[in-house]
Amino acid sequence: MTPPPDDERTGLPGLRSWGRVYWVVIGVFAAWVALLTILTRAFS
């Protein structure tokens, strides 16, 4: 198998493609919105 070019390597353990990195970032964003929504509901 041909290794990906340098620019395509993320260098992150467990996240070998940029697509996976982006999905993780979207997941973190969704988690933040969920937490803030819970905070709003709990204290408003």
Binding site: R9, G11, W18, V25, V28, T40, F43, S44
Partner: protein, 566 residues
């Protein structure tokens, strides 16, 4: 501030600036001066991108937003992660492949020289005005509370940043921003810890949040579709995404930060660092303001936080009226505090009926106090319109009144560090764009690197002087952090439209997009003057209008005027 605070302030600021000048001395290569020889790692890029956006206004004004309106402003940043992903995946590889110095050079490659000039012109106009604001905004607040001269504060802080930005270029900006953001985080963390320690005994963190919620300060997310509301999930995610896409993807002050990366990987990771940490950072700053609000429910705050303006008016004819307002405010606050004590007791003893009754009574007393505050602030503004919104003084007043010496110095240093870090990024970008997109493109096409480096230094200094001059004559009515975002939103949508047409509508040529952008900007100006909608929507409207007009115009003029896409 005492001598120790001043030593911390001047020692830190001058040491960082001197280190930047020393470590970047002797750079005469244009690429090294404007892009730091493309040798910057992801963490420095990430911190540099964060520091360029987070100006002193962020740290002075955002806690005031939290104090006055609660957590809702955090929604403004919901679009940032998605925008940063799009930039990392689409914009960045194209910029790097073409090895451009500025984002507007790409418009020249893709369309034609006039579209490149239009993009650069929008940036210089908008950022040139904004640059004055980033000096003026913290200066007016800090000079008022410290008793310093406003013009001296503007000129001294402005000249310091001009000095090291001109001397060291892109590398000096990234280097100083890394240390400056360290000072900022240390200062904000210290303020948070002291604030938590100073909350009344018996009031737990959960009680504090419940109390803040009772006064509508905990509404972080609002899913309503009401177009009149400035901050909702929808305006933040959609409008905020367009704002962030335009700011991070096409504003040279940001593009220059991540183009300095050693590789595409380093630049992408720097952007992802911001995509992850931007929302929690803004949330914590707003939460700081909410906790200051809770603190002042048990501690009598000043009627208005701009005490210098209050003292001045009290000594110049308004004394009896202001003293009457002060007395009325103290009475309302005393009643509120008494009711909050009853609320806390009922809450801890598990008596919901008594808890609700005490909370309602406390809310009524608080509303009475707020109306007194509003009346006092209105009287002060009528007497002197050149006064920032009172919420901008909340955090600095809290620091000066309730933090120990040493920490006061650290926090004031943090504000100046933030002011200088964003200012240096902006000046660096204004100088680069003027050199590359105007001077080298229109005035002198063939010259040595040393000549262009010298030109870039002169243009950077010139923009610094323009910003200082603008700051000396500025006048503001909006909350500072909002004023900056409003100014950006009026221009950013159209600029983003130019870039999205370039990236995604391959059949559109330079002539169509050029006239479409001008027409779209006219539409945004007209709507801004007439429509009472959230300013974030102008990013969507400007971008959408530019793209739609481009398609219509291209269809009207036919394919002959098109330039092949690159």
């Amino acid at each position: 501030m005492n001598a120790a605070d001043y030593v911390i302030l001047f020692g830190t600021m001058l040491a960082i600036a001197a280190y930047a000048v020393w470590s970047t001395r002797g750079k005469h290569d244009l690429r090294a001066y404007l892009k730091g020889a493309e040798g910057t790692g992801w963490l420095t890029i990430g911190l540099s991108v964060m520091a360029t956006q987070a100006s002193a206004i962020t740290f002075l004004s955002t806690p005031g937003q939290g104090y006055e309106s609660g957590l809702g402003f955090v929604q403004n940043y919901f679009g940032a992660p998605i925008a940063l992903i799009i930039i990392a995946a689409v914009f960045l590889p194209i910029y790097r492949r073409l090895r451009v110095y500025t984002a507007y050079e790409y418009l020249g490659h893709r369309f034609d020289p006039k579209t490149r000039l239009l993009g650069a012109g929008f940036f210089l106009l908008q950022r040139g005005l904004g640059a004055g604001l980033t000096i003026y905004a913290p200066a007016i607040v800090l000079s008022t509370v410290m008793g310093w001269r406003l013009d001296a504060t503007i000129v001294c802080s402005g000249l310091l940043v001009v000095l090291y930005t001109v001397a060291g270029g892109c590398d000096a900006v990234s280097l100083t921003q890394k240390y400056q953001i360290g000072v900022i985080f240390a200062g904000m963390l210290a303020a948070f810890v002291v604030l938590l320690a100073r909350l009344p005994a018996g009031l737990t963190f959960k009680d504090s949040l419940a109390l803040a919620g009772g006064f509508h300060r905990m509404n972080a997310v609002d899913f309503s579709l009401n177009a009149d509301r400035r901050y909702t999930f929808w305006t933040g995610t959609l409008g905020g995404m367009f704002l962030a896409l335009s700011y991070f993807g096409t504003d040279q002050s940001q593009v220059q930060r991540y183009l300095s990366g050693t590789s595409l990987r380093e630049s992408r990771l720097g952007l992802m660092f911001n995509a992850i940490f931007k929302i929690p950072m803004q949330f914590l700053i707003l939460l700081l303001g909410v906790l200051i609000f809770v603190f002042y429910q048990f501690e009598l705050p000043p009627v208005v936080f701009n005490r210098a303006a209050w003292d001045y008016q009290a000594a110049h004819g308004s004394g009896p009226r202001l003293r009457a307002l002060e007395s009325e405010f103290a009475s309302a606050h005393g009643e509120e505090r008494r009711q909050l004590g009853a609320w806390l007791e009922a809450r801890h003893s598990g008596n919901p009926a008594a808890e609700a009754a005490a909370r309602a009574a406390a809310e009524a007393a608080q509303a009475r106090g707020e109306s007194v505050r509003a009346e006092a602030a209105k009287a002060l503004r009528a007497a002197n319109p050149r006064t920032a919104n009172d919420s901008d003084y909340v955090f600095i007043r809290f620091i000066l009144d309730h933090l120990p010496h040493g920490l006061i110095g650290l926090l004031v240093t943090a504000f100046f560090a933030a002011a200088l870090s964003s200012k240096s990024g902006e000046l660096n970008a204004l100088g680069s764009t003027t050199t590359i997109d105007i001077y080298r493109h229109l005035v002198r096409r063939e010259a040595t690197d040393a000549h262009y480096v010298a030109a870039s230094k002169w243009f950077t200094a010139l923009w610094g002087l323009v910003a200082i001059g603008f700051a000396l004559f500025a006048n503001l009515a909006e909350n500072l952090i909002q004023a900056v975002n409003i100014l950006g939103s009026v221009f950013y949508g159209v600029v983003l439209g130019l870039f999205l047409v370039a990236f995604f509508l391959r059949r559109i040529g330079g002539t169509a997009v050029f006239w479409a952008a001008l027409a779209a900007q006219a539409v945004v100006f007209a709507l801004y003057a007439t429509l009472p909608i959230s300013y974030l929507w102008y990013n969507v409207i400007g971008c959408g209008a530019c793209m739609a007009f481009s398609v219509i115009l291209q269809l009207a003029i036919g394919p002959g005027a098109r330039k092949a896409a690159k």
